[in-house]
């Protein structure tokens, strides 16, 4: 039931510019503090980063003059093997870790989406890895992968394999970074999928069952299509999150050995605070920013609608 004070009526009442829903007061004073914060610590830094990216800008004054080079930093990046390396590592990370997380999370949600003893406890405990501090997670994984006393090697040695220096070799270090992320984040996918599944009406699945659909058909022809918006939201959230991964990897490997786990943020960090080249690192920051905005805007436009929220909540 929609009340008379629902959004549909207020829209016509207060259609004017900056006019209140009840024609009373103005939203501007309510918005100003948040807008000031956003300007000071988001918009201005973005503009400033773009400005800096047009310069050869060494951090310390003694390291050389500050010179305007236009888009020179962007050209430098396009020829920098370190940049491409970090981009490939980042894309590889997204294309390997996220599909695994999505599949694991979805399958677990399917399996655990029923009543069983201790079900609530299992679901609650599964939340803990998601909220495990990233820094602590990186440290714990670094510990588990230690060649001499780490748990994984203890297990392998007990099984008769030689101890491996996981984080000292390029390939295994990269795999470990991915494993860490999968371990921590598939339960995140699970949470969202589980909530999505719980929202599917039982009758829908029962109807399919009565029509003789096999379990596989029910999953592929009923559950996945109905769950599609949730799947898409989750995927986009994971991509946006994966684009900014830093602390876990920084603590686990510091981007090494060599450049083998220098994901995008780690390389930006290295250029800025290792090589002290603020202009070049700002160019990377702008690149990352544009990439993230593309995904974020897609997510926001596809999945979050103010009007829809109001349709659901406004009538109450």
């Amino acid at each position: 039931m929609k009340s008379f004070r629902g959004p549909a009526t207020s829209r016509t009442e207060g259609a004017g510019f900056f006019k209140g829903a009840g024609g009373f007061g103005s939203p501007v004073p309510f918005l100003i503090p948040a807008l000031l914060i956003v300007f000071a610590v988001l918009i201005f830094p973005i503009l400033f980063a773009f400005f800096v990216s047009l310069f050869e800008w060494p951090l310390s004054a003694g390291a050389g003059p500050r010179t305007f080079i236009g888009l020179g930093n962007y050209v430098t990046l396009s020829r920098d093997p370190g940049f491409w390396n970090s981009l490939w590592l980042q894309l590889g990370f997204i294309f390997i870790a996220i599909p695994i997380e999505m599949v694991l999370g979805f399958l677990a949600a399917l399996l655990l989406n029923r009543e069983f003893r201790g079900g609530n406890l299992v679901r609650a405990l599964l939340l803990l890895p998601v909220f495990f501090l990233p820094v602590v997670s990186g440290m714990t994984w670094r510990f588990m992968l230690q060649p001499r006393y780490g748990a994984l090697n203890n297990l392998l040695v007990a099984l008769g394999a030689p101890p491996t220096t996981w984080l000292a070799q390029a390939r295994t270090a990269y795999a470990a970074v991915i494993a860490q992320d999968v371990w921590r984040m598939w339960p995140f996918v699970f949470m969202l999928m589980y909530a999505g599944l719980a929202g599917i009406p039982d009758e829908l699945i029962e109807a399919a069952e009565i029509d003789g659909a096999s379990y596989r058909q029910r999953v592929f022809s009923v559950i996945i299509p109905v769950l599609y918006p949730t799947i898409l939201t989750t995927l986009l959230l994971r991509i946006i999150d994966a684009l900014r991964i830093f602390s876990e990897v920084y603590v686990m490997t510091e981007g090494g050995p060599g450049m083998s786990t220098t994901l995008f943020s780690l390389y930006t960090h290295r250029i800025a605070f290792g090589h002290m080249r603020m202009g070049l690192s700002s160019a990377m920051a702008i690149f990352l920013l544009i990439l993230s905005i593309l995904f974020a805007v897609t997510l926001v436009r596809k999945n979050l609608s103010l009007d829809e929220l109001e349709q659901r909540g406004g009538g109450r």
């Binding site: 948040a34 677990a108 003893r117 440290m139 930006t268 905005i293």
Partner: protein, 279 residues
């Protein structure tokens, strides 16, 4: 669901129980060893020997509590968390109120921009923030890092609160305004008390966001304003021989997060749907 045979049903239940147990074992093992190693001596951990109850000791905790750097970090984390939460929740609640109670040109664009801002990678902003803060003397100050944390918390709070606010009935506010209350008085005296559950959730989540945050703290703070995650990561340095202390220090960091997580369970989905988990 229609079930054919009760024996088949039992089998499925057993299989699922087994499967759930296995998942939990894998997912909780790293957390478990972190909590456990906080209570073991470094020498025991480094020797790689198995666990037995006589290894348990509070030694690492004693050393962590005596570690000034870490304790200062912990204190800074609490202060920054509280300040940034206070700023984000008050400004965020006002903005969310403005968005959910008024209709104005550009309202949708504004609301969506807040959400997009929330999702920007910290790395894309931190270089500029570092240079700005250095220029105006905010680097390595509590206020600097608080402001940086507010940059992701305020947009987050706005989007966490909008759905809460929409469900609060306008009738009370309208009655108050008819009785002659100004918008501000109505907001503070009528609306805020009604919206308190949402505000609590928003406060808890922004505190956790700030508590867990690492990158801004790493770059924007130094000796004075260093927060606990940076202090913990500083313990690694080279070949670590103090795992016990690191695990104890980490466990102290984890405690509030886990408590809040379990307490806020029913709001978690909403909490993570508006911008993932902050690293």
């Amino acid at each position: 669901m229609i079930l054919t045979l009760s024996s088949r049903r039992k089998l499925i239940t057993v299989a699922i129980g087994f499967f759930a147990g296995l998942i939990l074992l894998i997912e909780l093992y790293p957390i478990g060893i972190t909590l456990l190693n906080g209570f073991r001596r470094d020498i025991v951990i480094l020797s790689g020997q198995g666990f037995s109850f006589d290894q348990i000791t509070g030694r690492s905790y004693e050393m962590v509590f005596a570690n000034r750097q870490y304790m200062a970090g912990l204190w800074n984390s609490v202060v920054v968390g509280l300040l940034s939460t206070a700023l984000s929740v008050s400004f965020g609640a006002m903005a969310a109120y403005g968005i959910s109670r008024f209709r104005f040109a550009g309202r949708n664009v504004l609301a969506y921009s807040f959400l997009v801002f929330r999702m920007l990678p910290q790395m894309s902003l931190v270089v500029a923030l570092y240079m700005m803060f250095r220029a105006i003397g905010l680097r390595d100050t509590i206020w600097g890092i608080t402001l940086a944390h507010t940059s992701f918390n305020a947009p987050y709070v706005i989007w966490l609160l909008i759905p809460f606010f929409i469900t609060v009935d306008r009738a009370f506010e309208e009655a108050a305004m008819i009785d002659g209350c100004s918008r501000w008085k109505t907001f503070l005296l009528v609306f805020v008390p009604l919206a308190r559950p949402g505000l609590v959730v928003a406060a808890v989540f922004s505190f956790i966001n700030s508590w867990n945050e690492f990158l801004y703290a790493l770059i924007l703070t130094g000796v004075r304003a260093k927060t606990a995650p940076v202090a913990v990561s500083g313990m690694i340095g080279g070949e670590v021989l103090t795992w016990g202390q690191m695990c104890a220090a980490s466990s102290i960091m984890l405690a509030p997060v886990f408590i809040f997580t379990l307490w806020m369970q029913k709001y978690l989905i909403r909490g993570i749907s508006v911008g993932g988990v902050k690293g």
